[in-house]
Assembly symmetry: C2
Homo-oligomer: 165 residues x 2
Amino acid sequence: PDQPVSGAAITKDEARISVQGVPDVPGTSLEIFSRIAAKNISVDMIVQNVGESGKADISFTVPQLDFDAALEAVQEAAKLVGATDVSSDSNVAKVSVVGLGMARQTGVAEKMFRALADAGINIQMITTSEIKISVLVDRDQSQQALRIVHQAFALEKVPTTPIKP
Amino acid sequence: PDQPVSGAAITKDEARISVQGVPDVPGTSLEIFSRIAAKNISVDMIVQNVGESGKADISFTVPQLDFDAALEAVQEAAKLVGATDVSSDSNVAKVSVVGLGMARQTGVAEKMFRALADAGINIQMITTSEIKISVLVDRDQSQQALRIVHQAFALEKVPTTPIKP
Ligand SMILES: C[C@@H](O)[C@H](N)C(=O)O
Ligand SMILES: C[C@@H](O)[C@H](N)C(=O)O
C-alpha cells in the first residue's frame, strides 16, 4: 500500500529491567518469566538478542507501578540462573509505528530510524512484528519522538470529508 | 479472555544477521537499515537490546534468498559505524503465538517458554507485541516447537460444527 503506516503510539508508563549474562540454555527464560508471572506482574515488551559465548541478555518492560516488585522477582531469578548482572531504567517510554501494510518493509524502519536520528533521540531497544515497530527511548524525549514520527509518516494530515452545510 | 492465544505460526524461511558492538548513539540503526532498504531487502524481525558501555547489538532476519545481499550490505554498514563484529545463522526459524487477548499477559510468555524449555528447545531471540510473541529457534527444531506450542495452548482442538447429513 502507498501508506504502510497508519498510526503512531506512545506508552509512557514503562520501566525497563534487564537480566544480563544469563545462561543461553533452555529453561532460562522460563525461570525469569515464571517468577514475574507468579507475582501477577504484567509485562509489555520482551526483548532478547542472540547470545554470545553461551550467555544472553533478556530485557522486558513493566508499568512503573510494578517496577519494584518486578525487580525483586528478577533478582531472585538472576541469582538462581547465575546471571552476571541486573540493570534497570524507569525513565523510559515506548514509541511505536503501526500499520497493516508494513510487513517486511525495511523502508518503514529506515524512515522511523531516520526521524529519530535527525532529532538526536537514541534508540535503546527495538522490537518488531508484522504490523508494528516499537522502540524504547528516554521518557523525556518520548513526546518529541512521537511528534517527529507523526511528521515523518505524515500522520497528522488526517483526510477529512467536508460536511455540507 | 479465557483463551488469550488463538493461534501459532511458523516462518521457516528466515536467516539471522547480527551487527555486534555498534556505537549506541543516534544514527547507528539508520546507517544499517538504510543500506538494507537501499538493496530492496525485506526485513522480518528486528531485535535490539539495551546497550552496555556505549555499545549495542542489532539483529534482524531476512528471507534465505536475500541472505547474501543482506550480509554484504551489513558488512559495509558495520565498517562505517565501527562495529566489533558481524555474525549470522541461516539455520533458523521464527515460531510465534498470536492472540488478541494476550496483551501484557505474562502467563502467556511463561507457558510458551515452559513448552520450549520442556522440549529442550533453545530460544535464540525473543520479540513481542501486544498480540504476538515470537521466538527464533534452530530451524531443525522449529516444527517440533510449533507442535508443542500448539499443544501447550490447546490449539489443535479446533471446535467444529457437525455437518448434518
Ligand atoms: C536466554 C534464554 O532465552 C534461553 N536461551 C532459553 O531458552 O530460555
Ligand atoms: C544502537 C542503535 O539503535 C542506536 N542507539 C541508534 O539510535 O541508532
